[in-house]
Symmetry: C2
Subunit: 451 residues, 2 copies
């Protein structure tokens, strides 16, 4: 029976061009990670279910891909569960393993499992695929790469300084001009909550505040009312809503607002320390800005929060996120391991570079040279040519059959070789080759000794 | 509840040292693949079950990891199958996807799915993990990497010539002196079968012949008798058993033996062509030899068969295998796509290099420099030092906290940094740093401007 040739829903093949472009991005990221002292780790594709289940909330549990046990997996399942078709309860009887859902939980597991082999502070990066049983849609896949760097075992704000500079250096090297690193601090958000007397509705408040650019001050106030924020809260929020000026000016306003709010003061102090220490002079493509509406990851981030926005003109939004957390490994029985980490959104960075035409044409995934095949005798000579070119480090494909030269040239053109090497009998006689530049169409004669 | 921190059975974490060493091996392989005109592809971790099931035999089907459907997966399973706990039959109702079992079937699927985008001949390489629900044991894992290169769409023997040279160049560059590429041809095996009048027992015959070194001619003859080979077959086999001499001498003997056996002649002719065309002068680490006992992959290989043996002293056996096949994609409804491919055994190559101490000490997965932290003031200066070193491309870790210098030095020593940079107040005053070589213990003063 014929099998249909199709990838599974929500997954992708990558061809040579896509891999060359992806490797360009991950190559830049890896080299920056390593310059800043991070070393790679890799964890397995699947983990024991107990490692993953219950770590991402109910929705997460549902989206984790479970692996069916091997062999007679139904043998020990209670008959009544099967009879009642209790899928959820049956799951844990027939599945002991699950696919990696993110890189953070496996990293936590790694730190605990290898605690006697690693030294704190421990700086690791990890670039591996993860899997989520989400409904696939444009730009959202069931298999996608995450790209994380974390340092655990130190509370020093120097870590944040380095993370900001890592972001800046990566996007500078990718030439993504107009990238913005937005920074905030959970403690500032807590301070605002205290300030407006609505500690429990902080996230909702930031969501509304985030619309300031679009709907203006009046719009924000109206929406806050609509959502039932008390007038006293809204009045107290006005200085926040009206906050303008440079990074340092905003911090000075917050100094005043947080005069009696310890937690808010602490947040401002942390951000100011980072701001004073960061040096972005070498990275003009990238700006750092305070964004009080930034409220991502509030169920685990405890200090600094960052998000990176792609240049506005590409309309892609966030291409990275970062934050500081207090407890990475408590779930594995090792409390008190705090840290800070960042991640890059590979797929979106790819889209941004593509939209801005920032991939070099040389990243085309095709070897540089195609050596043509003129027949049995000439092929022996052509192979010598291949060997010489390869010895000098060139990437070289040899057309294996003595097909019509026209056909071979078409092949070269379709695959996008930069250069085609002709070594027919006349070239062979003179111990030369003709090298044709496929872009310009020009052709030069070169002695085989000069290759 | 505390979760146990443990990898799933048969899977491995990789630390920075292991990744550096693995990347060294795959880096050499990739660069050689690309020099020889191969381009990478990547396929998803999981495929639709129908893509994989039935392609690897019954044992293969059993060893494929299946992914449980999401949601209420039991809903449409026939009640009687559940009641009778028919695990095997239930599987296809509750699982539509499965983990990649090898790279060949996904490659075949890729070729057919993308047939309108690719040009033949199509040369691809692929280095990705695969998964098998095997019982884990020493050196055998449930998650391991395969590393394949194939060219499809050409019957030219130049492909085999290039594959031999790829093997030779890779093992030369890995400095694995004493590597042997063994070559055979299915058509020679078919010729031998015809010669001894035992076409159906060819593999069994080669298994016995393979013991020649250990048990001698008499032993081989005795075992053939024991296994019920007829005396006439054994008599006919004697010239094969007694085959000695150089590669070319063996071929000349076979010329005589196959005087009236067309298929055998064809096999000899193919091997001779390859032998005459291959040039291994640049690769003294590697030898090429004819091995008539080589009989791997006979259910798909139709011509050349190769296997690479690690240097005998490491006792690791095969570190690569290759062969030519007639029909890659027939199962997906696209007949007539023939090709030839090779693979590298990454885990075993790793073990061989480790056993022979061939990994460079510099592949240690640790940044080169650790910059120490002497306190708040000095740290600002230390960060300038970090930035300068990084700007010159160095990998640099900064100790984030002002811990006791003794503790920081211990950290440097345990993690294996090559160099430690000391910038205390006296260095800061002179705008210098002290760089300590951790191996020799020597220390030099350098101006910050000269970093």
């Amino acid at each position: 029976m014929k099998t249909k040739a199709a990838t599974a829903k929500g997954t992708r093949d990558f061809n040579a061009l896509e891999i060359a472009r992806r490797n360009y991005i991950t190559g830049v990221i890896k080299s920056v990670f390593e310059k800043y002292g991070f070393s790679p780790i890799e964890t397995p594709t699947f983990e024991n279910s107990e490692t993953l289940m219950g770590k991402y909330g109910e929705e997460g549990d549902r989206l984790i891909f479970k692996i069916l046990n091997s062999g007679d997996f139904l043998k020990d399942v209670p008959a009544d569960l099967l009879h009642e078709k209790q899928s959820l309860k049956v799951t844990k009887h027939i599945s002991e393993k699950a696919l990696r859902y993110d890189l953070t939980v496996p990293f936590a597991r790694y730190v605990v499992q290898h605690r006697n082999e690693i030294e704190l502070p421990f700086k690791r990066y990890q670039i591996q695929p993860v899997w989520r049983a989400d409904r696939p849609q444009k730009g959202r896949f069931r298999e996608f790469y995450q790209c994380d760097a974390d340092v655990v075992g130190s509370k020093s704000l120097w870590q944040e300084v380095e993370l900001v500079e890592i972001y800046a250096e990566v996007f500078q090297r990718l030439e993504l001009n107009g990238t913005t690193i937005k920074i905030n601090n959970r403690k500032i958000l807590a301070g605002i909550a205290e300030l407006i007397g609505a500690a429990d509705r902080l996230v909702e408040f930031t969501v509304v505040l985030d619309k300031l650019d679009k709907i203006g001050e009046d719009g924000v106030i109206a929406e806050l009312k609509e959502r039932g924020f008390e007038q006293a809260s809204i009045d107290a929020a006005l200085p926040i809503i009206r906050l303008t000026g440079s990074f340092e000016e905003k911090l000075q306003h917050l100094d005043v607002l947080f005069a009696d709010i310890a937690i808010g003061k602490e947040g401002v102090s942390e951000i100011r320390t980072i701001l004073n220490r960061v040096d972005l002079n070498a990275f003009p493509a990238v700006a750092l800005g305070l964004d009080l509406t930034l409220a991502r990851g509030l169920n685990y981030y405890t200090g600094t929060i960052m998000e990176v926005a792609a240049p506005a003109e590409v309309g892609i939004g966030s291409i990275g996120g970062a934050g500081r957390y207090d407890d990475l490994t408590g779930i594995f029985g090792m409390p008190g391991i705090s840290g800070v980490g960042l991640s890059f959104g590979l797929d979106r960075i790819y889209l941004a570079l593509e939209a801005l035409n920032l991939f070099s044409d040389s990243l085309n995934g095709t070897p540089e040279f195609l050596v043509l095949n003129y027949g049995v005798q000439e092929a022996e000579y052509a192979m010598q040519v291949c060997r010489r070119l390869r010895k000098s480090g060139k990437t070289v494909d040899f057309y294996p059959d003595a097909a019509k030269i026209q056909k071979q040239l078409q092949y070269a053109s379709k695959r996008g070789f930069a250069k085609v090497v002709l070594c027919g009998s006349s070239e062979m006689e003179k111990q030369e080759v003709s090298i044709k530049d496929m872009n310009s169409g020009t052709q030069v004669q070169v002695s085989i000794l000069d290759l």
